[in-house]
Symmetry: C2
Subunit: 327 residues, 2 copies
């Protein structure tokens, strides 16, 4: 029996993924459900979360689990209890922690999913030993987390790390947040797919192989398919990824100017493209960084914990916080 | 005799301003010299600094001064001893602290001038009692400082807070740093003057009153003159300041998305325009902030310590650090 297990839950727009995580950050059991579709009633999603927790508790032995951590794709208040705004879950000022705590016997903490991910990469992954880390998660949008001297930086209201909504192009592409020109419209999975679609719309011959790969069905083209085509040598797919990487480098140079971290960790689904993405990001970063040549420069590396960083980090942060509360 | 005095020195491109600062942040004596003109020999500037320190020591009584703090317009390494890069002073990897310490008997600390300013505003000015503060100093360019829970955040290499070199317009105006589209090319004193000049070049009749105010000598138009004209009701001068304020708001919204402070403090010479600048900054900020309407929002206020924030902060930070070292 391991008396120091924690459960981590990663809630996204499409799935609720849970795992039992040991003190070394290893996921020893998993469970998942589909996220109830944009339910207007938050209690439906809460029910799903409680189901996943119960299933994992059962497996681990309830007496071994010391805490539950929730990583949510949304703005989480500094109290780590309230989801202020989660567009994909239709949550507004949702007291998630209180609702769940009534139904679960161990302490529960809620955090933004990218905050959980930066903690996981720092404890167990690519950022071990670093003092100043910025995590950038590239999925359909961009999430972010900041960690300084072993502490997740949540900002005054809990909403730090929303890097994806920094404006990089005045009057640029419209964003879900209501603004134009947000970084995540240029450096994300959605941007990758949009740019491929615009090549199709232009009937560009350079995109014909990509179009053939989805048998002419434009809507079937996804980010992972573009990445696979790039790996297989398709020059247009490589160009599309390099363009995303270029915008990634622009934003990283901006963040480096403002916060000067030692390391940027790039995670999320799009980071599976690896060097096809990161080499162009590094190149642009080095060209854009203010004071380049006169100053030390941050590293840019791929995340190591893949899709489970959020789940692992949520669990480990919750264990850490429960211990802090007990001391 | 007050045994807890500290000397602060603010080194800019044009002047070396010094002061004796008491524990309440009050400047009880001042001294200043012109900065030796872009001397290729750093020891000339060092000589000037030592002169100012000696003059102030003499006044205060050497035995009452516990530390000397230097606030420099440049990149200062995390060791608070080395100026890595200071474009206006021709310093590159200059071991300023070591050079000065040979000639001054009390502990010396070097810091970026905006880092010193944010400390001063938090201890004695507009940001008292705040936990998460971002300071933006608008002079010829933009400087910045970050303070969290009473600690100046210098980043991994000491160079955090260079907000002015975040890119806001791809392919935009060329910046001294070598890039294009840096924020300080759109929201600074230089930007204000450049935009006025471009109205003159276009022979725009809306700028004729401004041009008359400098008797037709374009090069005599300065930021402070534009601010004065705006105060006096000149509509073009007001428009120019509102445009700078608009870009200020864009950048503040970006910083709020990334770092989520509770308060932005706007200092530096251009901030003398007060509400003529800040009201349009607030308006744009509220329109651009991601998640607006669903989240708490940071305040945007004018600095309270004016031009002496850097000097006061450098002195007080040095006193604080000397005490920390002694304990």
């Amino acid at each position: 029996m391991n008396p120091e297990l924690a459960i981590g839950i990663d809630i996204g727009g499409t799935k609720v993924a849970g795992g039992v995580v040991d003190v070394d950050g290893k996921v020893i059991q998993r469970a998942r459900r589909d996220t109830p579709h944009r339910s207007k009633n938050p209690s439906v999603v809460e029910g799903t979360i409680v189901e996943v927790v119960a299933e994992l508790m059962q497996y681990a032995g309830p007496e071994t689990v010391v805490a539950v951590g929730i990583g949510a794709a949304g703005f989480v208040a500094a109290d780590r209890a309230t989801v202020v705004f989660a567009p994909h879950l239709s949550w507004r000022h949702e007291p998630l922690q209180a609702a769940l705590q009534k139904r679960v016997a161990v302490p529960i903490f809620v955090d933004n999913d990218a905050n959980a991910a930066v903690w996981a990469e720092w404890k167990f992954g690519a950022a071990q030993g670093q003092t100043h880390v910025m995590m950038i998660t590239l999925g359909t949008g961009i999430g972010g987390g900041i960690l300084i001297n072993g502490q997740v930086q949540r900002g005054r209201f809990g909403i730090a790390g929303e890097f994806g909504h920094m404006q990089v192009v005045p009057g640029g592409h419209r964003c879900e947040c209501g603004n134009r020109g947000c970084w995540e419209q240029y450096a994300s999975g959605n941007a990758l797919v949009r740019e491929a679609h615009s090549l199709f719309s232009a009937n560009s011959p350079i995109a014909s192989d990509l179009l053939d790969s989805v048998e002419g069905v434009v809507d079937n083209l996804t980010g992972p398919l573009i990445t696979q085509a790039a790996r297989d040598g398709d020059p247009t797919a490589r160009e599309l990824l390099a363009e995303i990487g270029n915008w990634l480098g622009v934003g990283i140079a901006n963040l480096a100017a403002a916060f000067d971290p030692g390391l940027f960790v790039i995670g999320g689904g799009v980071s599976a493209a690896g060097e096809l993405l990161l080499s162009s990001a590094r190149e642009t970063f080095k060209r854009q960084l203010a004071g380049r040549g006169y100053r030390p420069e941050a590293g840019i590396v791929a995340a190591q914990l893949g899709n489970e960083a959020g789940l692992i980090g949520a669990a480990d942060l919750a264990r850490f916080s429960a211990q802090e509360q007990a001391d």
